[in-house]
Symmetry: C2
Subunit: 656 residues, 2 copies
Amino acid sequence: MKNILKLTITVLSVFVAFTSCNNSGKSDKKSGALAGNVAEKVYVAPGEHDEFYAFISGGFSGQLSVYGLPSGRLFKVIPVFSQDPEKAYGYNEETKPMLNTSHGFVPWDDAHHPDISQTEGVIDGRWVFINGNNTPRIAKIDLSTFETTEIIEIPNSAGNHSSSFVTENTEYVVAGTRFSVPIPQKDMPIKDYKGNFKGSLTFISVDPEHGHMDIKFQLIMPGFDYDLSHPGRGKSHGWFFFSTYNTEEASTLMEVNASQNDKDFIAAVNWKKIEEYVNNGGGTIMPTNYAHNVYDESTHMATSTMKKEVLTVNPLDVPGAVYLMPTPKSPHGCDVDPTGEYIVGSGKLSANLTVHSFTKMLAAIENEKFAGDAYGIPIINFDDSLAGVVEQPGLGPLHTEFDDKGNAYTTFFISSEVVKWKVGTWEVVDRQPCYYSVGHLMIPGGNSQKPWGKYVVAMNKITKDRYLPTGPEVTQSAQLYDISGDKMELLLDFPTIGEPHYAAGCPADLIKPRSKKIFNLEDNNHPYVAKSEADTKVVRDGNIVHIYMTTIRSHFSPDNIEGVRVGDKVYFHVTNLEQDYDVPHGVSMIGANTSELLIMPGQTETFLWEPKQEGVWPFYCTDFCSALHQEMQGYVRVSAANANTPLKWSLGEDID
Amino acid sequence: MKNILKLTITVLSVFVAFTSCNNSGKSDKKSGALAGNVAEKVYVAPGEHDEFYAFISGGFSGQLSVYGLPSGRLFKVIPVFSQDPEKAYGYNEETKPMLNTSHGFVPWDDAHHPDISQTEGVIDGRWVFINGNNTPRIAKIDLSTFETTEIIEIPNSAGNHSSSFVTENTEYVVAGTRFSVPIPQKDMPIKDYKGNFKGSLTFISVDPEHGHMDIKFQLIMPGFDYDLSHPGRGKSHGWFFFSTYNTEEASTLMEVNASQNDKDFIAAVNWKKIEEYVNNGGGTIMPTNYAHNVYDESTHMATSTMKKEVLTVNPLDVPGAVYLMPTPKSPHGCDVDPTGEYIVGSGKLSANLTVHSFTKMLAAIENEKFAGDAYGIPIINFDDSLAGVVEQPGLGPLHTEFDDKGNAYTTFFISSEVVKWKVGTWEVVDRQPCYYSVGHLMIPGGNSQKPWGKYVVAMNKITKDRYLPTGPEVTQSAQLYDISGDKMELLLDFPTIGEPHYAAGCPADLIKPRSKKIFNLEDNNHPYVAKSEADTKVVRDGNIVHIYMTTIRSHFSPDNIEGVRVGDKVYFHVTNLEQDYDVPHGVSMIGANTSELLIMPGQTETFLWEPKQEGVWPFYCTDFCSALHQEMQGYVRVSAANANTPLKWSLGEDID
C-alpha cells in the first residue's frame, strides 16, 4: 500500500499545486468611466427586474436557488431534498412525506444538475428537474409556484450523478448511477466488484400535461462509474450520451486505480429503440422498493407511495441500442451542441478536448466496424466517431456550454479558466481566468437547441480571498461574464448559497407571466382547512387534539384555548385567510420540537405540538404582517394529564 | 364578539390600506452618467472587498447572515437556532447539543436582534449576540470562526423579544420577555392574566476574556409585554431602557384590547444598583430548568448542561432601581442616542415621536415627584422626562438609529419611509420612501457611542413587485441608502435570506484581521480524532461501530470497510487532515437518516449511520476538492445481523 500512496502523491502533486493558486486573484481594477461601465452592466436599479432567471443548484445544501442575472441577486432558496426550518419543509405534516425514501426519512441530499423542461428543443419554463446524488432521487419543481411538487427515488442506483437532463420534448428525464453496486443489492466481498457490480441508466417518463414522473425502464450496464450525460437534440434526438470513468472497475484508492486506462467511454443510448422494445413487452420486471412522493396543490399535502417493481433492460437484448465511444482519460462533462451533431467529452486528465460526431458515429454503426466490445456492448473505433480535437486548450477540462453563434465555452478546473473555442474549426479564440477552480458553467438555454448567449456563469470551487473572510468556512461563489462580444468580459463575483454545482437559466419572460401570486382559498381541499373564522374549532379524539385555526391581519382565530393536557398530541392546522399577494402569516409555539409554519395566502399548513408541562403557553405570528403584527398572539392553557379542564376556545372574549 | 370584530376591521382598515401600496415602487430610473454613478457606489469589483460587515438576522429562519456593504452580497449563513443540513449543524453528533432546551431538542427559532460586543462604548468585533424569540434563548457567535459557540436558554420567559443588546463594556447582554406568563408556570385560567401573569428582564453576564455567559439575575416585572430595549451609554451607562405595550394586560384579540391605553411605558432599569444588591446577597433563588449549551473549540464538540435555579429580583426590593416613563401608544423601538442623553420611544400608533431626556429623568427621580405607580413601581410624570417631540414625522414609527453628525433616522412602517431628523431640535430634515413597509434599520455602530454614518440599511417586510417573482412566496429584502450627504440617496435593493429582522454592522477592519483560516490539527482534542492515516481504524463495541476516518485530497482512509452488520449503529468520525485555507471535505453515506458532514481543515465531525439492508454501500466526498474529487469515494459492506463477516478495513488494497 505504501508504494501506491507514494505514487498518488507524485501523480497528484501537479493538480494540488495548480489548485493552490498564488495569484492575487484580483482582476485589473478598472477606474473612472470604465469601472462605471462594468458596474452599470450588472446594476439593476431599485424596482427594475433582472433579465434572466438562473436556477443554481445548492450542491451539498440539497436545495435549488433562484437568482437574477445580471445582478447575481438571490430571490429564493427552494427546498428540495433537505429540510428547511424557515419554510417548514420537511417539518410540517404536509411536506414530511416528500423526504421519505426506501431508507426511511432522509433530511438531506446533494443536489447537482437542474434542467428546465423543453418543448421542441427549446426551454418552455414549466418545470425544473434536479437530482439528489447521495440517496438517488429526481425532483420536479413547478415554476408557477416555485415549490417542489414531486420526488421519485431511483432504485438500483448509488450516486445519482449523470442526472437529471431532459430530452427535447421532456419525454424523459434521465438518471445515471455514479457508483456501481450489486444489482440487486446483496452482501458480497468488495474485492469481487469487477464483473459483478453494475450501473443503471434510468429513463423517467414525464406526463406532458401534468408533469407526473414514472420510471419507464432501467438499462442495466457494466460496472463503470457513470458521470454526466446529455440528450441528443435535432438530428440526434432519440439518443442519450453518458460519460463513464473507472472502466478499470476499481474499488479502492480510486484517484490512482480509476486513472489507469488511456481511454474510458461515452455510452450512446438509442432510447427510442429501447422505448419501442419495452412498449412491445420487452424487459424484465425486477422486484425492488422505492419511494414516489407527490405534493398535491389541491389538498396542500404530499403523499409517499412505496413502489415495488421496476422494468429493467439488458442492453444485449436490444441490438443497436447501446454503443461505447472511447474518450480520453476519465471524461467528466458530456455535452451536446445546439445542432445535435457534436458530443464533447472532457477527459479530465487529458491534455486535449475530444469531440465526437453524431453523423460519424451513425456511419460507424452502419458499417459495423467495431474495436471490440465491453461486456457485449460494441465499442466504436476512436477515430471513426472523432469529429475533432481542441488541442491543449487548458488543464483539467470539465464542462462545455454553447452560445447561439457557433462557439463553445469549456471550463478548466486546474488551470482555472473558461476557454472559448469555435465549433467545427476547434480553434481557441479567447480565454478568461476564474477565481478559482471552476466546475460547471452555464449559458441560459445551454442544454437546448436555443441558447441565449449573452452571459456565461462560471461556478467555482474555491474562493479564499475573494470576499471578506468568514472564518475557516468561506463562501461558495459564481462569476458572471459578458459573452456578447468577441472577447469575454468578467463583470461580477457573486457568492452563492451552498455549492453552485450546476445551473439552468432562461429569459425571465418565459417564467414571469406564469408565476402564481396566491392560492385560491376556495380551491383549498386540505382535510383540516377552515375557510372562515366561523369554521374554526378545536376537536379532541383521545389524546389527539386538532385545532382548526385561521390567520388574518392581525389575529388568530381562536386565540385562547383551554382544555389541552400534558401528553396530548396537538395539531395546529392553520389556514391563512388572506387573498392578497405577499401577505403570508407565520405561527410558532414556544417549545415545539419542530419548526414554525410560514403560510402563504389561501394555504393550510400543520405543525405538531406535544406539551410536556402544565402552564399557559403563548403562540404568535412569526411574519411581520401589519402595524399590529406584534399584537398577533394567543395562549394555550395546558392542564395535567388527568385534569378535567373543559375543552374551550375563544377570540375576543374570555373563556369562562 | 361580533361587535369587537367589527371594531377591529374599522380600526385596522387604515393600516391595511397603507400597507397595500399601489405605487409602482420603482425609483426614478436614472440613466447615463447618473446611473453609472449610483451603480459604481455599490459595485465591488471582482477581487475587491466590501467596506463593512453587516450581520443581518434571518428572523424566522433562526439564523444570522453575514453580508458585505455596499454590495449587499451574502457571504455566510451562520446556523444559530435552526438546523442546517448543509453544514450538519444540529445533525452531527458534535452540534446536536446546541439545540437542546428544557423542552427537548428544538430545531428552529425566530432570531431577532444581533448586537456586536463593545469595549468602552465602541464595537470591538469579538462576538455577536442574538436572541431566539420563540423558545427564549440568547446565542453568542465567535467572530474569529463565525460559528455559534454558546446558547443559553432564558427561564421564566415567553417570547424573548426585547433582546439581545449589550452594555457598553459587554458587562451584560439583556433578555426581556415579550409575553407575560405565570412565573413559575402553572395551570390557571387565561382570563386571570391581570395581576397574575408576570414579565421578566434577564441580565446575563459575559466573561470579559472568554465571553462565557451566565444569568446574573432576573427582574420579575408586571405582566406587560416587553418589546424592545437599549442600554444607556456614556452618561447613562449603568441604566437599561425597555419599551412596553399591553399595559392593559389583555389576553385576547390584542390588536384591539392591547391598544386601549393612551400611553404605555418605557421602563428604566438601573442595573448597576441591582448588581450591587445581588452582589451583597440580595434576590431570591427560584428553582427552574434551563439549558446552557457550549461548543468547545478544543474538542470540536458541544455539551448541554441543564441548570436548575435562577436568582430573581423583585423591583420593589431595590428602591431607586426601576422607574416607568409614560410613552404614547404602544411604543415599539426604544433607542438611545450616541451620547446617552436621549431615549427615543416609537409609539407605533402615535402621530408623534417621543424623546425622553436621561438628565430630566434623573432630576424627576431626584425630586421624587411621581405620577403614581404600577404594581409599586414609580411612574414619572410624562412632561418631567420629556426632551422633545418630533411632530407628525410619518405613520407607524418603529425604530431609530443615529449617525455621527447628530442626526437620527426613524423608520415608519405604515407610511413606508425612513425619516431623518435632528437630535435636539427635533426637526425633520429629509425623508426617503422604502419599498415596502420597513421594520428595523441599521447604521454600522448604531447601538454604540460611535456610529459610522456612511450607510443606512432599511429592512423591509413586503417586497411584492420589487424582484422577479418566485410564486406566492416572494423574497425578503433590504435597501441601502447613502447617508454621507445632507440628503439620503437610495442606492440598492438587495434580497435577503429569511426575514431581515434587525442587523448589526461595523467596518470590516474590526473583524477581518482576526478571522481564522484553519483549525490546527495538533490542537484537535476530539475524543475520536485520527491525526494521521496511521491512526485510522474501525472499532466494534457491541452493536456500536466507531470508524476513525481521515480525508485528504483525494481519498478517505479507510475507503473499504467490511464486517458491518444490519442493526449496527455506525459512527463515522471524520477528521480533515488538510491544513490549507479553503480545503474542506464533505462526506455522506447513501440512505443515512441525517445530513452530510462539511469538515473544515483540521476539524473532526461525526455522523451516525444505521444500515437497514445487506449490501455494498458507497460513501463519497461531497465538496469538490481537487481534480480527482470525483474519485474520492469508498464502500462499506453490510452483512446480515447474525453474519460473521470479520471487521476489516483498507485503503489501496483489497480486503481478503
